[in-house]
């Protein structure tokens, strides 16, 4: 068994991971990246609409405005020290991306163009057509392909992390499966940065890619790192019927309308000022109310782009024009697009401080996997890309000076043995008629039904019971593929285990929070309750396997909680 050693191990090859890797390398650290897919396959690709750029010229706007709007959208659950950093350092990251070569759309004078996004008072979102995430992800990968970086950085590409290594109360890297060979290895590191993204596949349907299975969050939880705000699941207002594929908020940013079956712009009733560009949680609840009260068609409402004109649609929204054409046979320049709310993003995640550091020494996290928290109870559109860049870099900048005084720990062989036994257990299990895919589908549809937009105690408790049953089925289910090379059957099994952990955390936290705030709407507690609930819910797995639930105060610096109106 080969043992690998690095200063910094970045887990995940999306934007947060690549930004962290570049920063760590610039500081002279020996960096390695482990990712279950090639970095350019990462889900950061799917962020279509844009990236906020507070402080970039007049269009980016003053950072205070961006910070305030982020805070307000978070329903005051976001920590304002972190939000301030996001707003103050965000512009620098956008410009850095531009200098590295991102082909941002321009105004006629050659300066960066902006579009408006939901929850924002003005247009301050920079973009590359409707492929902003892809454009930035590919440019960061371009930077990684520079020979000086490429040769110095070890890429464990298509390696699947099975667990984190904790020795003497400190994270020392991970155990990972080389998907290509089926071999397990310990990759030890002084600092480990989890940038594994979200967990959208816990729900069915979801806008998320099939790889978004919450592995990093679950593995950090199992390693004893605290997990925060898990009840805060963003349900995006516009996803495609059937597949749940995302339709960017940029469409509404460019002026698209939301219509019910009577052709009425129903947002006049819910957010008369900001209309379609109110905060995502607000628009989502409005849509679901329309659908529930019988003003939808086949469980959908409509997105109307027709008045925007063919040129604008094809120039600025080409990607969704193609998606609509290819997946549902709709010509956006002439027809209405049926859409519905779809699970999109987890505001919660691995609890970190403003430097990406978790309470478990040696373990950092950034991006969607992390909870800093800048998004609080509801994330503003175009803040996710910003979050990955700012906190990916900050995690590396904190980790590298810190690790200089650290020594590699001796990692006992048992860490790899434990995971080998776990995998052997799955492979040796005989078939019982059940399937991993069936369990995953039952988990996803029940999570959507019971822990979705509108939550009630009956349904939440029902879901606790469902999850207990699903867990029992999971422990018993076998797989078809017994091989070593690219055994995706095995990976889906392990991923499902991670997703079940996440589903349980989401449900438990949703039961605990007896108020309505941001994306978390309790039918039995319809109001926000600052007196009791202006705090984070934190779940920590104890060494004996039991779970501790605790609370952390919200950091408030500048903006006192107010009633939230759009």
């Amino acid at each position: 068994m080969a043992v690998y050693e690095h200063d910094v191990l970045v887990v995940g090859g999306g934007l947060a991971g690549m930004r962290a890797a570049i920063a760590a390398q610039q500081l002279g650290a020996d960096v390695a990246m482990v990712s279950k897919v090639h970095p350019v396959r990462s889900h950061s690709n799917a962020a279509q609409g844009g990236i906020n750029g507070p402080g970039v010229g007049e269009d980016g706007g003053p950072w205070e405005e961006h910070a305030y709007e982020t805070t307000k959208a978070s329903d005051y659950l976001g920590d304002q020290d972190a939000i301030t950093i996001l707003a103050q350092e965000g512009g620098r990251e956008v410009l850095q991306a531009e200098h590295w070569g991102v082909v941002f759309s321009r105004k006629p004078d050659g300066h960066l163009a902006v579009r408006r996004f939901g929850g924002m008072g003005k247009a301050r979102t920079f973009f590359v057509g409707a492929i902003t995430g892809q454009a930035i992800l590919h440019v960061l990968y371009e930077q990684l392909m520079h020979p000086a970086r490429f040769q110095a950085m070890r890429m464990y590409e298509e390696w699947f992390v099975t667990s984190l290594i904790v020795v003497d109360g400190q994270c020392r890297g991970c155990v990972a499966l080389n998907i290509r060979t089926g071999e397990l290895h310990a990759i030890t590191a002084k600092a480990t940065i989890i940038c594994t993204g979200g967990l959208g596949r816990v729900y069915e349907p979801s806008t998320n890619a099939l790889i978004c299975t919450g592995d990093g969050i679950a593995q950090a939880y199992r390693a004893g790192a605290p997990i925060m705000d898990m009840e805060m699941v963003q349900i995006h207002p516009t996803s495609l019927k059937g597949s749940g594929v995302l339709i960017t908020e940029g469409a509404r940013g460019e002026g698209a309308y939301l219509l019910n079956k009577d052709g009425e712009r129903f947002m006049t009733k819910y957010a008369p000022n900001m209309m379609e560009l109110a905060s995502r949680d607000v628009v989502t609840r409005a849509e679901q109310t329309e659908i529930d009260e019988g003003r939808g068609v086949d469980g959908c409402v409509f997105l109307d782009l027709r008045h925007l004109g063919e040129q604008l649609i094809k120039e600025r929204l080409e990607e969704i024009y193609e998606i609509a054409r290819d997946l549902v046979n709709v010509d956006l320049t002439k027809e209405l697009l049926p859409i519905l709310p779809g699970v999109h993003y987890i505001m919660g995640g691995i609890k970190t401080d403003i430097d990406g550091l978790t309470p478990l020494p040696g373990l950092y996290s950034a991006g969607e996997a992390a909870c800093v928290s800048v998004h609080g109870a509801n994330r503003v559109g175009a803040n996710s890309l910003l979050d990955t860049l700012v906190f990916g870099r900050r995690a590396a900048e904190h980790a590298v000076p810190w690790l200089r005084d650290q020594k590699f720990a001796r990692v006992p062989d048992s860490v790899v043995e434990d995971d080998r036994r776990m995998i052997r257990g799955i492979l040796d299990r005989s078939q019982n008629g059940d399937r991993v895919a069936k369990i995953r589908r039952d988990m996803g549809t029940s999570m959507s039904a019971n822990v979705g937009i509108f939550r009630s105690p009956d349904k939440l408790n029902q879901q606790v019971q469902n999850l207990t049953e699903l867990r029992a089925r999971y422990d018993a289910v076998g797989i078809d593929d017994k091989g070593c090379v690219f055994n995706t059957d095995l990976l889906f099994h392990i991923e499902l285990g991670c997703m079940l952990d996440c589903a349980e955390m989401i449900t438990r936290s949703a039961i605990e929070r007896t108020e309505s705030r941001g994306a978390h709407t309790r039918l039995d507690y319809p109001e926000r309750n600052d007196a009791e609930w202006l705090k984070h819910i934190v779940l920590t797995r104890q060494q004996d396997g039991s779970e501790k639930m605790s609370y952390l105060p919200v950091t408030i610096t500048e903006w006192q909680p107010q009633e939230r109106k759009y």
Binding site: V37, H43, Q134, H146, L210, V485
Partner: protein, 333 residues
């Protein structure tokens, strides 16, 4: 809707290869990816393929469908079969890259070629405090190329790569265009020089396959043609491709048609004796069947060279074509 699939299988651990056939029931709106996932999840968990986003943005699920490279997530079954439920869809891994297992290929060759074109911006001069000021048209043009999701379809079906593994191939050359045409990049000339060498832009045979299989409209061959134009304009003409273009143009402007006698020496170089000797048997065969007419013995441009009738009209066409050349974008202060 009934769906019949015939899937190429490779089991590297037992050295076995063959086909698996599946017949499943799918909703009318399904894509091939939906069908393959259905198979993998409920029929046969040993079937290996890469897939992730389901919406043609991650580039994972490229494979050959009825002998043409495609993204499975963009291949609507009803379009592939033409509505014929008896049509058995042939699903195979991409070609030009080694198979790891079933539909999964090793893409290292693909990425190594990308790395070959120095795929990172190399600006000159100090970095501006704000963003680079560049025309929106230039950024939109580059965005079409940045649309590339590195799925590998063009590399799989490239007909040049099939016979010459050194060819940089369509995706990487399109990537090279993205930098050569980026007004922020300061190494356009060096890039074009390198790309004009053997295995670069002049080795494309313009078969158009990459344009046809690209699921994102990147049209790599068109980017290659743009690079050729840029290289010619930059005066990088000391290579067979550029010389071929020049003698071609000269021949048309002078006589209205290709001068077959002078094309070869004009392209490989008049004094390139070894190469001319290699080509000599072919030339003799052409001579024997009357494909090197005596009337073309005088080189284009020389007094007495052969002229077609209606040369004025030919020259007008050439003049008009020259006006179509796009202007290069620049950074403004």
């Amino acid at each position: 809707m009934k769906v019949k699939l015939k899937v190429r299988r490779t089991d590297p651990e037992h050295g076995a290869a063959g086909y698996s056939q599946y017949a499943i029931d799918m909703p009318e709106s399904s894509t091939l990816l939906d069908a393959l996932i259905q198979v993998r999840e409920y029929e046969d968990g040993t079937l290996a393929l890469r897939c992730s986003c389901r919406s043609a943005i991650c580039g994972s699920c490229s494979m050959r469908v009825d002998r043409r490279a495609r993204l499975a997530c963009r291949a609507k079954i009803i379009t592939v079969t033409g509505g014929d439920e008896e049509h058995e869809i042939l699903v195979e891994p991409m070609t030009n890259m080694p198979v790891i297992k079933d539909l999964i290929v090793d893409q290292e060759l693909f990425f190594s070629k990308i790395r070959q074109v120095d795929p990172y911006l190399q600006p000159l001069g100090p970095v501006p405090e704000r963003e680079y000021r560049v025309p929106n048209e230039a950024m939109i043009d580059l965005t079409h190329t940045m649309n590339c999701i590195m799925c590998g379809a063009c590399v799989s079906d490239c007909t040049v790569l099939e016979v010459d593994k050194n060819f940089i191939a369509p995706a990487a050359l399109a990537k090279a265009y993205r930098f050569a045409a980026d007004p922020r990049d300061g190494h356009t000339h060096e890039r074009l020089e390198k790309l004009s060498e053997y295995s670069g832009i002049w080795d494309c045979t313009r078969c158009n396959m990459c344009v046809e299989v690209c699921p994102k409209g990147v049209a790599p061959m068109n980017r290659i043609l743009q690079l050729r134009e840029m290289a010619m304009e930059a005066g990088i003409q000391n290579n067979a491709g550029a010389r071929h273009t020049n003698i071609f143009t000269k021949s048309i402007i002078d006589g209205g048609r290709l001068n077959e006698v002078w094309m070869l020496p004009g392209s490989v170089g008049m004094f390139n004796v070894p190469r001319l000797l290699v080509e000599a048997p072919g030339a003799l065969r052409m001579l024997r069947v009357g494909k090197l007419p005596l009337a073309q013995a005088i080189p284009p441009g020389a007094p007495g060279s052969h002229k077609m009738q209606g040369m004025d009209r030919v020259r007008n066409v050439v003049k008009k074509a020259a006006l179509l050349k796009p202007k290069r974008a620049e950074v403004t202060d």
